[in-house]
Symmetry: C2
Subunit: 436 residues, 2 copies
């Protein structure tokens, strides 16, 4: 038989076992916190009718979609988890109760040019709260507390949730210039963190924004201070615009209630430069950055939108949500050695039976330890103690139980701590205690 | 804007929230038991190079594969989890340690004609143990104990793990007739449970098996008795064939050690009719049936094979594994009302603040309950007590906490048990105890 070279598609993340264990730890932490906040799980298909997927796509995204025909049907792989959610809520509207809170952690596909840290198949971990007609601003305040709990528990170092409100920006710009330009300005201002004030000013001038206004816009988005100071500053601007006033009230409430829910000021900052490029967002917007690795960009973003599913239903469905780009985040964390999967293992202890006579006894020990929830294996295939200890080491297994004639006669087992290189003789009851 | 009708592809399972919660419970139980037995997680891409996927496919399967081109690359969606495992082990051979024990729970795709309980996108939940060159039969004995623990815990009613050994069948047939026919006979005999002895005898006659041998084959595969009786019967047949002898020894060991690991005879039966159609299997084979729903067919099957990855490497990689067809199983369980997701919920308790004045207090209670691991939500959007209780009912939320002026003054909350329709006044400490 001729051999086909085994290979994985470029841009498709495929992990080694110890990396996968670490990836799953992050996945599980996110899932647990989403569930604790009362979100129900969804798991929509990876494939949809092409027309469903294309409804919202456009421009660059549309080119990146994996589309194909099977029989007479035009199909597409989803490129995010929002389009399937919109379809789902429109389709099952009558069977759902609102506000509808769902989480989905799953893969999406974009045929981008593969580059470091950019994947064609990638996990997203999303939550959204969808209202029927309207949705309280209080949900916007709960979101930072969920982000806070997740990244506090994951412990990737100090992080900051940056928060803003699109109405505040829109209202401010509307006072200065016509609406059409305001949109363009939002897109430019969003980049100030990356490209700097000078470059932003230059781009604004190219847009023919008057010099005086360029200065005003830049000073506005660069207002700094504590959250309280910033809200006072914004209030003292004396802007009478209705949008601005509403946005500022929302921002104030979101900060106030997020703080009440335990998010410390050290981890939650109003940042007027955050605009989130998409037109989609209409109120609160969030970004999250690792303070010592701001170059990674936002690790958790989202915001409030007016209408989730306008392509699939005439019902007005406002929502607020966030997304964690899990594959990209994981890749970056590994690259920067913020996570080190090197000694992850799935096995707490390896039982080494010394010869076939020890098999029955070993099986019984295995049974008892697994019943207590221990992740334990017997080594059946390796011969001799040395080969077995090497195997345990290579697999990062922390404990080894050696079972030979002496052990079976005395019911006391040799218990080796592989990391510390120590060894004791213990009863099975003591070993159960050690492993739990 | 014109509305696109929201719809999901036929043959693509999409669940309602309460169904998804129940599905995830099953998923998590399988995962936990796979992990406890020391299997590491894998999560290979859903898309692969077409040539990788096609290497093993053939006949009907090949037609069902979702294949397409993106740019210059021929791609295919995986149709099972075995092909990606074979590629993975061949590709990362030098970075893995053997025996390599992995689990993977993920989706696969087959463009079958959609029919009840058959899906085009479906979950499989697989474990495999792969050896480098050789692999102890003891791994075959651990498999039934894993199946046993999973379905015992899932509690879908009495089940039976049926076990056989292909070498026993092959060896027996080899004594009666030429090898080529033996293969065909395996395929026919495999159906005896479904189509009955008469129909099998008829098919065997069509194959020009002598009448005398047809009788011998049918009586052989229909040998019944306790596991011990059956092994004695098989030993007493006096068959000298080497394959048969080896197979019988393996079968004996698998039964003996699986029993030692705690699988009761009531749940583990030797069944000589089990052949598993595929040529792939070479030793132990497993099927699992729900005793009261044998028409569902096998809910967990697998076996021992000689060579996992012969298409991708010249290394000999024997293995043993099983697969649970999770989507199909779940659909059947719902259809037969063995699982009833009706009152599944993600929320333990709903806090109802009576007016805006109660929001601060409610937020504080929410914070404390979530810190203790409670899945708790505040109702922000519904007005009035009645609308709120309806919402809690519709979402199957078991407990409701009402917070009004009295509650805030006394620090004693109204705690309503929605299922029993009772109501108490409790301190927050008592509520924490009730919810945990």
């Amino acid at each position: 038989m001729s051999i086909i070279e085994p290979k994985t598609l470029p841009g498709f993340l495929e992990l080694l076992p110890e990396e996968q264990i670490e990836f799953n730890r992050i996945y599980d932490t996110i899932r647990k916190n989403y569930e604790r906040a009362g979100f129900v799980p969804l798991d929509t298909p990876l494939l949809e009718y092409e027309e469903i997927i294309l409804a919202k796509a456009g421009g660059e995204t549309e080119k990146q979609i994996y589309r194909f025909k099977k029989g007479d049907t035009d199909l597409a792989l989803r490129f995010d988890l929002t389009v399937p959610l919109a379809k789902y809520v429109a389709l099952y509207f009558n069977q759902l109760s609102f506000p509808f809170k769902r989480y989905q952690i799953g893969k999406a596909f974009r045929g981008e040019k593969p580059q470091k840290g950019r994947f064609r198949e990638f996990y997203q971990a999303d939550i959204d709260i969808i209202g029927d007609g309207e949705l309280s601003i209080m949900h916007d305040a709960e979101i930072p507390s969920i982000i806070y709990k997740i990244f506090k528990e994951l412990d990737f170092g100090k992080f900051t949730i940056r928060i803003n409100n699109r109405k505040v920006l829109n209202g401010f710009f509307a006072e200065l210039l016509e609406e059409e330009k305001a949109r363009e300005i939002l897109r430019i201002v969003d980049k100030i963190d990356k490209i700097g004030k000078e470059a932003v000013a230059l781009e604004l001038q190219k847009l023919r924004v008057e010099k005086e206004n360029v200065e005003k816009i830049c000073s506005f988005v660069l207002i700094k201070g504590t959250n309280e100071e910033m809200i006072l500053r914004l209030e003292s601007l004396g802007i009478k615009n209705e949008q601005f006033t509403l946005g500022l009230l929302e921002l104030k409430n979101v900060i106030r209630y997020a703080t009440l829910l335990g998010v410390p000021e050290s981890h939650l900052n109003i940042d007027l430069t955050i605009a989130r490029g998409l037109d989609y967002y209409t109120g609160t917007v969030y970004e999250t950055t690792l303070d010592e690795h701001r170059d990674i960009g936002s690790i958790c973003s989202g915001g409030r939108y007016e209408n989730l599913a306008e392509y699939y239903t005439t019902k007005k469905l406002p929502g607020v949500g966030i997304s964690i780009g899990l594959s990209r985040l994981f890749y970056k964390l590994m690259e920067m050695r913020i996570v080190e999967p090197k000694n992850r293992t799935m096995v707490d202890a390896l039982i080494i039976p010394m010869g076939e006579e020890a098999l029955d006894y070993s099986m019984n020990i295995l049974k008892r330890l697994r019943e207590k929830g221990g992740k334990v294996c017997i080594s059946y295939d390796k011969k001799g103690i040395k080969q077995n200890l090497n195997y345990a080491n290579k697999q990062n297994i922390p404990y080894v139980l050696i079972i030979g004639e002496t052990e079976m006669n005395t019911n006391l087992l040799t218990f080796k701590n592989m990391r510390e290189g120590t060894q004791e003789v213990l009863s099975i009851e003591d070993i159960i205690k050690k492993l739990s």
